[in-house]
């Protein structure tokens, strides 16, 4: 029935990207532009004793030099935190440091100049007299440190987020046949979107209106925050545009200091202003991801049945609370600890602590990869200790397909799933039995071959507004979708979602084309401009299709209903006798397709408005706002096979098999692209990536020479399979595909490497599982020899 939905249609946005015609903030041309550069702190923690910018001000071509005091004096407010669970302490966060710097990369002075070169030269002329203070480093160590990152946060503790019955959990663990206990570090990651952040602003003094171009995943949220919290320009005088954005992975959700500094400067100097981040700056100022220290216990019966799970986590929030930071290690983490399993008792607690490091917030998966890592590592160690196959122990604990919707002990109500079927598909695609036999033979031959398995759950498509606001979010998470039919029958679609690599211009066009029966070419998707689209919440948490796409289905339904009314009126028939042919966009009376009204014909009839039903408004423009009734729950079974070089510790991924249930699929090519790309990011965390700070709070991995991103020559193309159980509560039946690959791949590869090293008696190593780390582990496992 569907004309376009379900087809692997090539992405319509790609030609402009691959031909260099993308429209990014950095190439925006504005007349009379000043370029902004920001002097950043080289100290992790220091008092600012004085700032001498006279030489910089005197440099020819410098237009202005501004400090945090200047911003404060003109009434600019602190950057807000948008997720505030009960009892949280939110430290102040000015856009430029006032009095104290709290991490390497904290902005201190902003320079505006005629060219970026002059601006950067001017930075070198500014003398800041710092009085260095001891640095707080490490999520858990922060609570014991005598130094405070913020004087008003004792023990450097911002919030505590417990969930579940601790006593019952401890009792179940004490009474268990077997308990697996692990100390895990989920290391800090530095997101590296291909396009660094950028911001430009133009102040229209005659209308007192501000236009801001920024690399954001959610321009409406940024506009709202600029208006009510930071810049304090009325929302109706503020337009925020996110044009083409080259990747975000979460790091471009948040309201950043530069989005305040740049428009403020534009206003001060009366000229448009622009700032474009360098890669080095990005690594010191884009929100980082993960950074957990965890102690966890899984209790089991002799036969492998899980009886209780206890997880304690110290989450490094960095120097300030980034926009949604507290939500990640709490509501998106502890609630996920049930995984695919019927663990009856779960207790989790997170301590969100402040350190002298870059703030940590959502990064692809956001909380869910951390939860999967804890649970799936524990299960693998349990399987090993009980002498069970890792898939067998998982199957033993699955939530059966006939128990959905399933209420977990950690707040969530899973909508649908069939995990047996999922693992059947994965085992079959991988040839799991043969894989294990081959592994046994390879081991005999002295090779370190490992097979890793994971079964992951994701909560995506945020979210029911009531649920997230109840948890502490400052906004609901519904989405808008508007369809505007032009007199010629061409269609403009306005969405509150934002595409920054996901391919909405294709997926959404497929949805609307099918809903209205139009060719995709007749449909234009508009997003990322608060001046054009209705208020929307943006793109993150794999929500665009399930929430934004559903809003479009709802507005298309309204358009169809109106067209049916008009056609019924013109054909003098009853509405219920009308047929809307969604293949051809023709409307006719049942049984008389020859006398059909075409879509374009009716669109024009609305403009002439001379033959419309009595009282009907002459417009063909409908907007819908969709608030989902639940999250969606994509799930996955991934299997990886790796070999570890005994002499060098180098890990080679030999095969990677991924079977995912992301519900109904609109465009299988885009979904596979998301899964493949997600897996690459997950593998990156398992094997190479690590944002390293030394004890002085210096970022040691501050460039792409020092921070190891995954590279094509180190990866394999995943063999991707699919199981489809439609989500029952959105009109498309979709679940979200953006993060599953990352959530699953990290722990799958980590489990595979640990399986490879198991014969040497190595139980656990923390990620990243670099050649060096494994080399040393093998060496000490062999008693120092090799």
């Amino acid at each position: 029935m569907a004309k376009d939905v379900g087809k692997a249609i090539k992405r319509v946005e790609d030609p402009r990207f691959i031909q260099g015609r993308g429209k990014y903030v950095a190439n925006l041309k504005l007349p009379d532009l000043v370029h902004v550069a920001i002097l950043r702190s080289p100290h992790a923690h220091a008092k600012i004793k004085s700032i001498n910018a006279e030489a910089a001000k005197a440099l020819p071509g410098v237009v202005g030099v501004f400090t945090g005091e200047d911003l404060k004096a003109s009434g600019v407010g602190d950057l807000p935190c948008g997720f505030n669970p009960p009892g949280i302490k939110v430290p102040g966060r000015p856009s430029l440091a006032v009095g104290k710097v709290r991490h390497v990369g904290d902005g201190v002075v902003a320079v505006a100049a005629e060219s970026p070169y002059i601006a950067y030269d001017a930075l070198g002329l500014i003398e800041v007299d710092y009085e260095p203070l001891p640095a707080v480093v490490g999520a858990k160590a922060a609570m014991e440190s005598s130094t405070l990152v913020h004087d008003d946060l004792p023990n450097n503790l911002s919030f505590t987020w417990p969930l579940g019955d601790k006593e019952a959990c401890e009792k179940a663990i004490a009474e268990a046949d077997h308990v697996v206990e692990l100390d895990l570090i989920n290391q800090r990651l530095i997101p590296n979107a291909m396009e660094p952040r950028a911001c430009a602003a133009q102040w229209d003094a005659s209308m007192e209106e501000m236009t801001i171009w920024t690399t954001s995943q959610n321009p409406h949220i940024i506009r709202m925050l600029l208006s009510v919290a930071t810049l304090r320009i009325p929302e109706n005088k503020l337009r925020v545009i996110s044009p083409d954005v080259g990747g975000g992975f979460g790091s471009k959700i948040f309201h950043y200091p530069e989005e305040v500094i740049v428009p403020w400067i534009a206003q001060q100097v009366g000229r448009p202003a622009k700032w474009v981040s360098t890669r080095t700056e990005a690594m010191q100022s884009d929100a980082h991801g993960r950074a957990h220290v965890t102690h966890c216990k899984l209790a089991l019966k002799k036969d492998g049945t899980f009886t209780a799970l206890l997880v304690e986590t110290w989450a490094d929030m960095g120097a300030y609370l980034s926009l949604f930071a507290p939500m990640i290690p709490s509501a998106l983490y502890i609630t996920l600890l049930a995984g695919l399993y019927k663990t009856p008792i779960i207790y989790g607690i997170t301590y969100g602590t402040m350190t002298n490091t870059v703030p940590v917030d959502a990064y692809r998966g956001a909380g869910r990869p951390e939860a999967s890592y804890v649970l799936e590592r524990l299960i693998d160690v349990a399987a090993q200790e009980l002498g069970m196959d890792p898939i067998e122990i998982r199957r033993k604990n699955f939530i059966p397909a006939n128990e959905f919707p399933y209420q977990t002990p950690v707040a969530l109500m899973y909508d649908s799933g069939n995990y047996e079927q999922l693992f059947d598909a994965a085992e079959k695609l991988a040839g799991y039995k043969a894989m294990r036999q081959a592994q046994a033979q390879a081991r005999q031959a002295g090779k370190l071959v490992g097979v890793g398995v994971s079964g992951c759950i994701e909560v995506s498509g945020p979210a029911p507004s009531k649920a997230v606001v109840g948890l502490g979010a400052g906004v609901g998470l519904w989405e808008s979708g508007a369809i505007r039919v032009h007199p010629s029958g061409k269609v403009t679609v306005l969405t509150g979602s934002h595409t920054h690599g996901q391919g909405h211009e294709t997926t959404f066009a497929q949805i609307v084309a099918d809903e209205l029966g139009l060719p995709m070419e007749d449909i234009e998707i508009v997003h990322g401009d608060t001046g054009r689209t209705p208020f929307g919440l943006g793109t993150y948490g794999s929500r665009s299709t399930s929430v934004g796409g559903s809003a479009l289905v709802r507005s298309a339904e309204k358009i169809r209903a109106k067209l049916i009314k008009i056609a019924a009126h013109q054909l003098e028939a009853a509405e219920e006798d009308m047929v809307y042919d969604r293949e051809t966009a023709k409307i006719y009376v049942k049984g008389s397709p020859d006398k059909a009204k075409a879509f374009a014909e009716l669109a024009y009839a609305v403009v002439t408005a001379d033959n419309l039903p009595e009282g009907m408004e002459p417009s063909l423009e409908e907007t819908a706002f969709y608030d989902p009734s639940n999250f969606t729950f994509p799930n996955s079974a991934h299997i990886a096979q790796v070999e570890v070089d005994r002499d060098t510790g180098e890990v080679t991924i030999q095969r990677y098999v991924a079977v995912d249930d992301v519900g109904k699929v609109i465009n299988p090519m885009i979904v596979e692209g998301q899964i493949q790309g997600g897996i690459v990011q997950g593998v990156g965390q398992a094997l190479w990536e690590h944002g390293v700070y030394n004890e002085d709070g210096q970022l040691l991995s501050g460039s792409l020479m020092d921070y190891a991103m995954p590279r094509a020559d180190r990866l394999v193309t995943a063999e991707v399979g699919r199981v489809e159980t439609p989500s029952p509560h959105n009109p498309l039946g979709v679940k979200g595909a953006g993060e599953m690959g990352t959530i699953a791949a990290t722990v799958t590869v980590a489990n595979a490497v640990m399986d490879a090293l198991a014969p040497l008696g190595i139980k656990h190593l923390d990620m990243p599982l670099t050649a060096e780390k494994i080399y040393h582990a093998i060496k000490s496992a062999n008693g120092g020899g090799n």
Binding site: A26, N27, L28, K29, L33, H35, P42, H43, A44, V104, S115, P116, L123, G124, T280, M283, Q284, N694, D696, Q698, L699, L700, S701, G702, S703, M705, D706
Partner: protein, 233 residues
């Protein structure tokens, strides 16, 4: 970052001591040192141009000497900052008489921050070692030249009654400095027994990488500038 080592000068302790406290001598032997002048009692101000991996830039620094025990030992405090970041360090220099020659023991600990820490970290130790080593080699040359000059001078003075200028000593070039860094990298990475086999090849390889890197950087900078200029304003 920790720095520790010994160096033998073929000169009496007093001569080495004197050279060590002469800012002009030190400035002339340190690769990248642009200026070093005495600004107070045991206080010196200097400018150093440094290049660690891709990080380059000028440092302004203050050197403070304390616990001076002529001609045996002193402590040193260095406080430098510049566009690439900052560096703070304390160190100790000790001279021991060894007949006609002098053994120097030096040790120090430095904290670096900013870009120089986050980008060049892996090259930092090797660069510091190379910088120290080459400075000491230069110093040694200077001292030898001084001794030589003094000897000649005494003879000439007897004849002409007029001093001659000290003979100039070449400061290591950037390429020589890079070779030094490469050598220390090899020392760090390759265990001693395997070194002879590997060292020659690795040195040539690393050195050519470093040179190539500069060359590529120069090209990249040119291209980047052109791209910047073309794309807006």
């Amino acid at each position: 970052m920790k720095l520790e080592g010994t160096y033998t000068f073929e000169a009496p302790r007093e001569v080495v001591w004197e050279a060590l406290l002469d800012p002009n001598v030190l400035a002339s032997v340190m690769p990248g040192c642009e200026r070093l002048e005495q600004v107070g009692d045991n206080e010196y101000k200097g400018a150093l141009k440094i290049r660690v991996g891709p990080v380059q830039g000028a440092f302004e620094g203050l050197v403070n000497l304390s616990d001076i025990n002529t001609p045996e030992s002193y402590r040193m405090q260095v406080d430098g900052k510049g566009a690439p970041g900052f560096m703070k360090g304390v160190g100790e220099v000790r001279l021991e008489d060894q007949g006609a020659s002098t053994l120097m023991r030096y040790s120090g600990e430095a904290q670096v921050g900013g870009r120089i820490a986050s980008v060049g970290q892996r090259l930092l130790d090797s660069s510091a070692k190379a910088l120290t080593r080459q400075s000491l080699d230069g110093l040694h040359e200077q001292i030898k030249a001084r001794l030589q000059a003094n000897a000649t001078h005494h003879a000439e003075e007897a004849l002409l009654g007029e001093p001659s200028p000290p003979s100039p000593v070449a400061v290591p070039s950037q390429t020589e400095f890079a070779l030094g860094v490469a050598k220390h990298l090899v020392d760090d990475l390759v265990p001693a027994p395997q070194r002879p086999k590997l060292v020659a090849g690795a040195l040539v390889f690393l050195a050519s990488l470093v040179v190539l890197n500069w060359w590529m950087n120069a090209i990249a900078r040119k291209v980047a500038r052109e791209v910047w200029e073309r794309r807006d304003y």
